[in-house]
């Protein structure tokens, strides 16, 4: 046949028009499984340890005891809160990589209220005040690049990134102002004795309030993006600004409003980090979670309910990594390698979900 003269490439890649939901999740599950196998081989090759025992240790590190489970849940909620904050901005194709700064802005305000008003205002109004103030601080931190983008079309990626560094410097300033004792460069635990401004234990659980706040935000954001007019506007602006204009959507207004919301939620994350977890403020209060949340937001395709799963996976990997290092006396870096491999596979699975790969010789079959 004459067709045989044309040399077929070994692999051909084509975009999938659509994929069933179950099939896409099957790909993801397969990727997770494959990554565990690859990690197992590497663990055994490097350390000679039984990979199953290592995975068991990871599980025990995250859920081994009731308290560990709660710490895992607390960290999950933290990551989820930031991801939820990023969701509207990313859906609008506004690359807010400034969550770190927005968290710190909220954190500083919360810490300030704890330090200056922690022992004079009753707990419930104080917490409400801290919530609002930190949301406002985060909103301002998000608003600045939002306005610049909306009005002058300034590059939001660079702008939000630079705002992070400013926030870190501002935090350093306040840490130096509040440091205890002088010169130690740490604020220490704020209101250690009075516990002023700390999240109260609910039903004996000190992290339950974190869960309530974050899950409420998650559900509200889901409804907002999916069912509200504003959520629809965000989606349209994200797809095409020109379409949005054609549909008489005020793009500037949407950009600014969305960044206010995005920043405010990240600011609340700072409030939770300070009042609900650390009870201190430092330049590591955000601790890179603002960047990890970008992965969460992307992997979940800005669906805040899926974010619960993805945040859970990442936090689980992190906790597991620490336990491996401790239990098997391995360096932390081995466990970080595992996390890296698993993430690589999961991100890689998105490729196979979006594209179809055909090999030479199977074209007839595939072409049916």
């Amino acid at each position: 046949m004459s067709v045989d003269k044309v040399r077929e490439p070994f692999v051909r890649i084509s975009k999938r028009a659509s994929i069933e939901l179950w099939r896409s999740w099957l790909f993801r599950a397969a990727a997770l499984f494959a990554s565990l196998v690859v990690c197992g081989v590497i663990i055994f090759a490097l350390t000679g340890l039984n990979p199953v025992r290592v995975y068991a240790a990871m599980f025990s590190g995250a859920f081994g005891t009731v308290k560990r489970s709660w710490v895992t849940i607390r960290d999950l909620m933290m990551l989820l809160c930031i991801s939820v904050g990023l969701a509207p901005a990313f859906k609008m194709r506004f690359w807010n990589i400034g969550a770190e700064g927005q968290i710190l802005a909220g954190g500083i305000v919360s810490a300030a209220l704890m330090i200056y008003a922690g022992n004079s205002i009753p707990l419930v109004p104080l917490l409400m005040l801290m919530f609002l103030a930190s949301a406002a601080a985060g909103a301002v931190w998000g608003l600045i690049p939002g306005v610049f983008k909306a009005v002058w079309n300034a590059n939001e990626t660079l702008f939000t990134l630079m705002m992070n560094y400013i926030a870190i410097q501002v935090t350093s300033y306040f840490v130096a102002l509040w440091e205890n004792p002088y010169g130690s460069n740490t604020v220490g635990v704020i209101n250690q004795l009075s516990k002023g401004g700390w999240f109260p234990a609910i039903f004996g659980q000190m992290y339950l309030l974190n869960v309530i706040i974050v899950l409420a935000l998650t559900i509200l954001m889901y409804l907002y993006l999916r069912y509200s007019k504003q959520g629809y506007e965000i989606a349209v602006v994200g797809e095409s600004e020109n379409t949005a204009r054609y549909a008489a959507i005020n793009v500037r207004k949407v950009v600014i409003r969305t960044m206010l919301i995005s920043g405010a939620i990240c600011g609340v994350a700072g409030f939770i980090a300070v009042a609900g977890a650390g009870h201190t403020i430092s330049t590591s209060t955000a601790g890179g979670k603002g960047f990890v949340a970008i992965i969460v937001a992307w992997l979940s395709k800005f669906n805040t309910l899926v974010m619960v799963l993805i945040s859970g996976l990442l936090v689980f990997l992190d906790k597991g990594a620490v336990q491996i290092a401790s239990q098997f006396d391995l360096n932390d870096f081995v466990s970080e390698m595992i996390t890296g491999i698993i993430l690589f596979f999961i991100l890689g699975s998105e490729f196979f979900i979006n594209f179809k790969v055909r090999f030479r010789g199977r074209i007839k079959e595939a072409g049916k």
Partner: protein, 409 residues
């Protein structure tokens, strides 16, 4: 969605089963000890702790594999609290943390777990917290700093005698410049650099010291830059209270390029990275404390709230002298060390330094209630400022004449 949930749950159950099988290990000895470290063996400070713990484990007869639980790279925030609680959950009845910034978080864990003993090494809230299960410990690092200062002083004297001290190494008033790379501007560092300075001064009287802060315990680049800038200001000896080899490496490069500069390290023996420039390093032998504390743990005895010992019990020392040390250094060091042991040499002898031109007669060391009376007394007795006596953590935070902080906050 349901399918995924089913997969996740199935996976979780399998792993839970595997974990359950894994538990139940542990020998006849039931004592478990948790260790929280701010970094890992790659930093000199933590390496010194790790070595101390391993030596103590061998001396006391504890099985490291089953009885010691390590937590590496624990940040000085709620992660420390999490780590402490996690160690409690794993059955540890004694928990040690090695960095100053851990202490508030250790204190919180101690409040919540009165049955577990928490030791915050280098912390200073032990006695004042009033918690019976919260302890502090700190060696007499100022003693080894003083001795390392003597080593530097001997070198400086040799340089003076050989006319290697240039005019650029001197201030307009004729004092010779030396430098110090500090981490943070608080008592632990101030006490250390003052002891070093007084050690140098005991050999060469006309010295003046510049101090630069890096605001980090471990930052090789910043420490190297700080050393470079101090040397460019004319400092001829560089010492440090920071945990990396940054400053000695910088000094070695400068020395090999023709600038006369020598350095004194901390914790780590710097001779491998600076064979020509390094004179010695001030060191702590943490095994003395860990052996004491582990013995208490094994026997069920109470650990003292504030533990601080020095040369007298082998807790402090300096590392091996480098090839560049002046002749006669070893003899002088032996003499000073003997003096420290028998008390005839006192590091903070108020006759040997002044503050704002005045000799010190009284000092408010620890005053948490703000009544301008020392909570636990005055550290100065008979003209001697006793460091680490009122509590284990250093409280000498005076800026004495002859020392200039270049970038204090």
């Amino acid at each position: 969605m349901k399918k995924l949930l089913a997969i996740v749950i199935a996976l979780a159950m399998v792993l839970a089963l595997a974990t359950a099988c894994d538990a139940g290990s542990g020998g006849a000895k039931t004592l478990k000890i948790g260790i929280i470290l701010v970094h890992d063996e790659n930093t000199g400070y933590d390496a010194a702790h790790i070595n101390g713990i391993k030596a103590a484990v061998a001396a006391v007869g504890i099985d490291e594999k089953t009885q010691i639980f390590w937590k590496y790279n624990v940040e000085e925030n709620e992660k420390c609290y999490d780590a402490a609680i996690d160690l409690v959950e794993q059955g540890c009845s004694y928990i040690f943390s090695d960095s100053y910034g851990h202490q508030d978080h250790m204190l919180r864990a101690a409040e919540e777990n009165p049955e577990v003993v928490f030791v915050s090494m280098t912390g200073d809230k032990g006695a004042l917290s009033g918690l019976p299960n919260y302890k502090n410990a700190f060696p007499h690092t100022f003693e080894s700093r003083y001795v390392s200062g003597v080593v530097a002083g001997m070198k400086l004297k040799q340089l003076v005698d050989e006319n290697k001290v240039l005019d650029s190494n001197k201030n307009p008033d004729g004092t010779i410049k030396i430098g110090y790379v500090g981490a943070f501007p608080y008592a632990e560092v101030v006490s250390g650099y003052t002891a070093f300075y007084l050690g140098v001064k005991s050999i060469v009287d006309n010295v003046q010291m510049d101090v630069t802060y890096t605001n980090s315990w471990y930052d090789p680049t910043a420490e190297a830059e700080a050393a470079n800038s101090l040397v460019s200001r004319g400092c001829i000896i560089i010492s440090q209270h920071a945990d990396s080899t940054g400053a000695p490496s910088a000094c070695e490069a400068l020395l090999n390029a023709g600038t006369t500069v020598y350095c004194v390290g901390y914790n780590v023996d710097m001779i491998p990275v600076a064979p020509n420039a390094a004179l010695t390093s001030a060191q702590n032998n943490w095994s003395v404390y860990y052996t004491y504390a582990f013995n208490c743990a094994v026997k069920g005895e109470e650990i003292v709230t504030d533990w601080s010992e020095g040369y007298a019990t082998g807790t402090n020392m300096i590392s091996e002298l480098g090839a560049s040390c002046a002749p006669g250094t070893a003899e002088k060091v032996a003499e000073v060390e003997a003096g420290i042991k028998d008390g005839s040499v006192q590091v903070f002898d108020t006759a040997k330094f002044t503050v704002d031109g005045q000799q010190l007669t009284t000092y408010l060391a620890i005053d948490t209630d703000g009544d301008y009376k020392g909570d636990t007394g005055d550290p100065i007795e008979n003209g001697i400022f006793y460091e680490s006596k009122l509590r284990s953590a250093p409280y000498f935070a005076l800026r004495i004449d002859g020392i200039t902080e270049l970038n204090a906050q």
